[in-house]
Symmetry: C2
Subunit: 457 residues, 2 copies
Amino acid sequence: MNAAATRPEDPDRLWSVDEHLSDVLSTVRPLEPIELQLLDAQGCVLVEDVMVPVSLPPFDNSSMDGYAVRVADVAGASEEFPAALTVVGDVAAGAGDPPHVGPGQAARIMTGAPLPPGAETVVPVEWTDGGLGGGPVSRMTAHSTAPDGASGQVLVHRPAEARAHVRAKGSDTTAGERALEAGTILGPSQIALLAAVGHASVRVRPRPRVVVISTGSELVQPGGELRPGQIYDSNSFALTAAARDAGAIAYRVGAVTDDADILRATIEDQLVRADLVVTTGGVSVGAYDVVKEALSSVCGAEVAGDPEADEHTEHREETPAGPGVDFRRLAMQPGKPQGFGVVGPDHIPLLALPGNPVSSYVSFELFVRPAIRALMGLEDVHRPTLRAVLTAEKALTSPAGRRQFLRGRYAEGEVAPVGGASSHLVAALAHADALIVVPEDVESVEPGTEVEVVLLG
Amino acid sequence: MNAAATRPEDPDRLWSVDEHLSDVLSTVRPLEPIELQLLDAQGCVLVEDVMVPVSLPPFDNSSMDGYAVRVADVAGASEEFPAALTVVGDVAAGAGDPPHVGPGQAARIMTGAPLPPGAETVVPVEWTDGGLGGGPVSRMTAHSTAPDGASGQVLVHRPAEARAHVRAKGSDTTAGERALEAGTILGPSQIALLAAVGHASVRVRPRPRVVVISTGSELVQPGGELRPGQIYDSNSFALTAAARDAGAIAYRVGAVTDDADILRATIEDQLVRADLVVTTGGVSVGAYDVVKEALSSVCGAEVAGDPEADEHTEHREETPAGPGVDFRRLAMQPGKPQGFGVVGPDHIPLLALPGNPVSSYVSFELFVRPAIRALMGLEDVHRPTLRAVLTAEKALTSPAGRRQFLRGRYAEGEVAPVGGASSHLVAALAHADALIVVPEDVESVEPGTEVEVVLLG
């Protein structure tokens, strides 16, 4: 990374959470937009303003089931002295060639049907005898069972002003107006508007494809049998689910054994379907930390390097991180060891998270989720945070100089820790809905103190 | 519906929103649970407690990269007077047969690797010379490049208490404990726990399959050309997206022409993949309201009826709604005409919503979304509501006796109306993020008044 190139080499330097996040976010660029069918674009971000090609509604139409008439013909009408009009036909919704309504005439009209030529207003069916010759009715007879409703005579019991119960052409939105602004996230009602103005597809940033790989020779697929020294792989499941939750299309590759060549080959193989690669494990100071071994800027040349130096340099100008993955120690708990960089000829971002389940999950929340949302082009990439009063039996302790993220349960302005600080406590994690943040300069938090809380899910 | 059977027939009765919602929710039963692979169960609800089959961790293991040693061998060790121990081998994570650690011996151990027999504690590599014969080191040399790190001598600079840096077997959760309670919604961290204790699949209520059908001879697929009197179909897109948003697997069938036979045939055809059917349009008092015509209890016998009277009766006891769809007028705006019932031999619930885009969307929010969430077995089926202060240029007006749902934008305790009350205003809907609720007995709301707000999305 450029950062490493411009600073004196100090492998033991502790980086802050904010420095690391900033490096990640300055490298990850929103994905190139593509044209997607409306329903495939749900949850995606518009990259350009969408204009209205046709006015909505495209024509004057009725907002009621009733009769389209002339104003003068129903002036002064009452139940005692109704206006008797000749029904010249039906105007159903979708009718392309509605009958002309002349003086003394009415057309039976349905909600959404175009106001027929000659008609000036609409009287609801409830203001008429429905053509039945009696008092006011509450509905029309179905055309299929009583086709004669489209002819004969109707008695209108109330007058109507001009254009009563008429939705004017363009009263919703008019051609040339901006329907939606660039940056809008497409939910159901935005999709409704795009469809209503006739757009079958829309230009958005696609959902990022995230490949999740866990590493560790100790990992067994759930459902399999554990031999001594083995545990079940949970990280690849948790992070695949979390990536989907963040809006990504996530692919779970599962556990790869601690072998640098196999890991490199697996990553190379997966790059074709990856906008982002996430690995867990193998990033610490141990002798078998193969992610670090396989991907660090020097050793990982086969995956990370770029054969053409020019392109290489050019890309460096675009993104702070040149090819290669940088491994760091962060001033945080859990999640101290972290790797981040780009791999492959297309410089796909890769985040290498620690292997402890809680560490990897917290690291995902802090760094991968914002990266996914940045790839989607979302402006707000972070979880909501708030202040809450700590409820606990005793003070929380936190190492000096580390930002600590404890698991907690939040309710109504209060947060309580769940389980301890240890990074292997998956059961406690599963019962938490928040992270309690203890800043770097705080070593103890008394119950009753206000703390920062990140709300999960 | 039974309701209709026990009450005097009054087709003009106005039903309250709450009555209708209550009828819908008392008919919709949670779907039968099925066994799903973990990642397919994301967002679903557990139907039974899940127990822990194996303790977690399954064995004592190291929380650090370091050396597994005996306590007595490192007692009193310091940088000046280090303890010199013979390295008998490596214990990597996943190691099935770790070396025995005798007096004066150490095994190099990796995070997560089993504590080897004979060892009583772990000293982190940072407390040692890493076998290099110098001062304290910050990391191990990679096994692949320096396999001799697993042998030779290590100098330990600090003492360690018994079981320091050791995660005890079962310290996360123990066999026989309850991992997750019935009713839990499975998010990433719950999936993590299930995987960690070895469950490859889990018994949950599946996501409901929702078939969305819009009706209307005036409807054209977006992207097509509009002829006079035609509009684009937006409801089928909006409600499919909204159904997914609510957690369903949604199928958009699209627009069906106003023909009762075609509609009946379409619904019959779709029932095989439906846990819930939603239609829009054709439910009002017009002469071409074919949903009503096709599905009402009498006319809709082919779809709705059940040939065997016994089964028919039996089902009535299970659900308040017997076969057939009941069409009602609700005391609400928008969304007055509504249909609800069950169709087909399997009594699949069907909600027939009005066709105006805003009416259908509001109806979906009020009735379909809770139905989908009830099918999923969720306890909390409703959107969050809150009180907010109305900001508007003039008072809002609302018809007496109707519960009105206006579109609004909410921010920081205040809500402002967006667009008017008219049910064809799709553009305004697309810029709203809340519904403003004006109760039945309120006809005017002054700016500055507190109102109830339903938060969307």
